[in-house]
């Protein structure tokens, strides 16, 4: 059963190269080919995601693996992030005699920007590479072909479930990560000061507004989506044996990280239009 999708290798084999083509043109062509294939891959995801049957069991399994299993890593990094950010910010604020602003400043930084982006980058490192490597190894060992033969839609079973899980789990990880970060900030504030938990809590919510929380929360869905999408794309279209597995895992993380920053920049610009 054919998936109807051409891999980058298929296109490369069809491509006629002339000696006059320099390496820049080749790179540019390769880039646009990748963009086309990725767009087709994304389009196929949206077609498959609405079409029954739904792989609910696999979706729940992936959500557990992608979401719950990433929690310890996100929690530890979140805690350290809040603690370090507070410790590093204190001397600058102390110079202005504005140490009482420390909780609010750290809270706004974590919730608006640092929490979502750092969590998404760690998520890309753990989940994106995992998906890329897993699907690539399934591809090179022809497990995906075997699924097609046995009548299972591998795209729906492997790709749709993973992308949906990552899209929905990352926002939850970010929320929990933000809260743990704020707890780290509370510890950081109290290392050289004496701020009660109640006062810290009041100071945080004194400066936070919905325009801080919602754009930051909404962009995490996009971060989760691109991390899993690129992981699945790279893994699903890999070749070249074990070398292809390593390349898929590596490029998944690299492109996902880059896309997170690009999406974040776009999100900031879009948010600034409405605030």
């Amino acid at each position: 059963m054919s998936t109807g999708l051409k891999t980058s290798n298929d296109l490369n084999s069809e491509k006629v190269t002339t000696p006059s083509e320099n390496s820049y043109v080749k790179t540019l062509k390769g880039f646009f080919e990748e963009v086309t294939l990725l767009t087709k891959f994304t389009g196929r995801f949206f077609r498959e995601v609405i079409r029954p049957p739904y792989e609910v069991s696999e979706f729940l399994k992936q959500s557990y693996l992608i979401g719950y299993k990433s929690l310890p890593l996100i929690a530890i990094t979140g805690f350290i992030m809040g603690l370090v950010l507070t410790i590093q910010s204190r001397p600058t604020l102390a110079q202005f005699g504005a140490e009482s602003w420390l909780p609010a400043m750290v809270a706004v930084s974590i919730i608006r920007e640092i929490g979502p982006v750092i969590t998404a980058l760690i998520f890309a490192g753990k989940v994106g590479s995992g998906i890329g490597a897993e699907l690539a190894s399934m591809k090179v060992t022809e497990q995906i072909d075997a699924m097609e033969v046995s009548g299972i839609n591998p795209f729906k079973y492997l790709v749709v479930t993973r992308i949906m899980s990552a899209t929905l789990m990352l926002p939850i990880l970010v929320i929990i990560g933000d809260v743990i970060s704020l707890y780290g900030a509370y510890i950081g504030v109290n290392l050289k000061g004496d701020v009660s938990f109640d006062l810290f809590f009041v100071k945080i919510f004194e400066k936070l507004v919905f325009t801080d929380v919602f754009p930051a929360f909404i962009k995490t869905f996009f971060f989760g989506f691109v991390v899993a999408l690129l992981g699945c794309y790279k893994g699903y279209n890999s070749s070249k044996g074990t070398e292809g597995v390593a390349e898929a895992a590596n490029s998944s993380v690299v492109y996902a990280s880059l896309m997170i920053f690009i999406l974040d920049m776009v999100a900031v610009q879009v948010t600034s239009l409405f605030t």
Partner: protein
């Protein structure tokens, strides 16, 4: 199968915790923005709002009781500021209360402070317009500082001229402090007074032995005894 059920339970706890934290966060932010409490509207007309923004706090007796809900330019010189204030505070704010734009510390946000008004007055109604006082802007303070500085400069210049004159021995105080001739003359005058007093004493002694005046001096001595 058992493991799968356990994993589903863990996933359920994880997702529920995430949603619960999100809802708690939304509740506390919403509460600060008066979304979940009963409120009433009050407006004030200002000439200059000094950078006041929607969402800034409204304070009454130093307590945050509301937020700025809207800012609207009415004419070229007037700005209408709508405030959303907690219903519980309404009974303390009288009709003649005043709204003043201030600042939350030196570097803090702008705030609106409401003074309570006089007791016995009626309490505010919904959508009332309350009296305002123009805020003291940083520009006003700088202008006053400049005037004070200019005055200080004039005073110190005059003082410098006076001190120079004194040092040069000009004028009464200058002569008194700096001219040695005057001091010598004063010394000589004191010497003369001393000499005059000695001569006068001798004259009086001679007069007491005089026949004409002896009786008078004797009477005086008797009276003393």
């Amino acid at each position: 199968m058992k493991k799968e059920t356990g994993n589903k339970i863990k996933l359920g706890i994880f997702v529920s915790a995430g949603f619960a934290l999100l809802i708690i966060g939304i509740y506390f932010i919403g509460e600060r923005q008066q979304l979940f409490s009963r409120t009433f509207h009050v407006s004030g007309i200002f000439k200059n709002i000094s950078g006041l923004q929607i969402g800034n706090n409204v304070r009454f007796s130093g307590i945050n009781v509301g937020i700025i809900d809207g800012i609207e330019q009415m004419t070229d010189t007037t700005v209408k500021v709508d405030m959303l204030i907690e219903e519980d505070t309404r009974k303390f704010i009288k009709k003649n209360a005043k709204a003043i734009i201030g600042s939350d510390g030196l570097m803090g946000n702008k705030i609106v402070s409401i003074t309570p008004g006089t007791p016995g007055q009626e309490q505010l109604s919904d959508n009332d317009i309350i009296a305002t006082e123009q805020p003291v802007t940083m520009d006003d303070i700088l202008i006053k500082l400049k005037v004070t500085g200019d005055n200080a400069a004039t005073i110190t210049n005059d003082l410098a001229v006076v001190m120079t004159n004194i040092r040069e021995g000009k004028g009464t105080i200058g002569k008194l402090l700096m001219d040695t001739t005057m001091a010598n003359e004063v010394d000589q005058a004191v010497v003369n007074i001393k000499q005059g007093a000695g001569g006068f004493k001798q004259n009086m002694k001679a007069a007491s032995h005089n026949v004409l005046l002896r009786g008078f001096f004797k009477k005086k001595t008797d009276k003393k005894e």
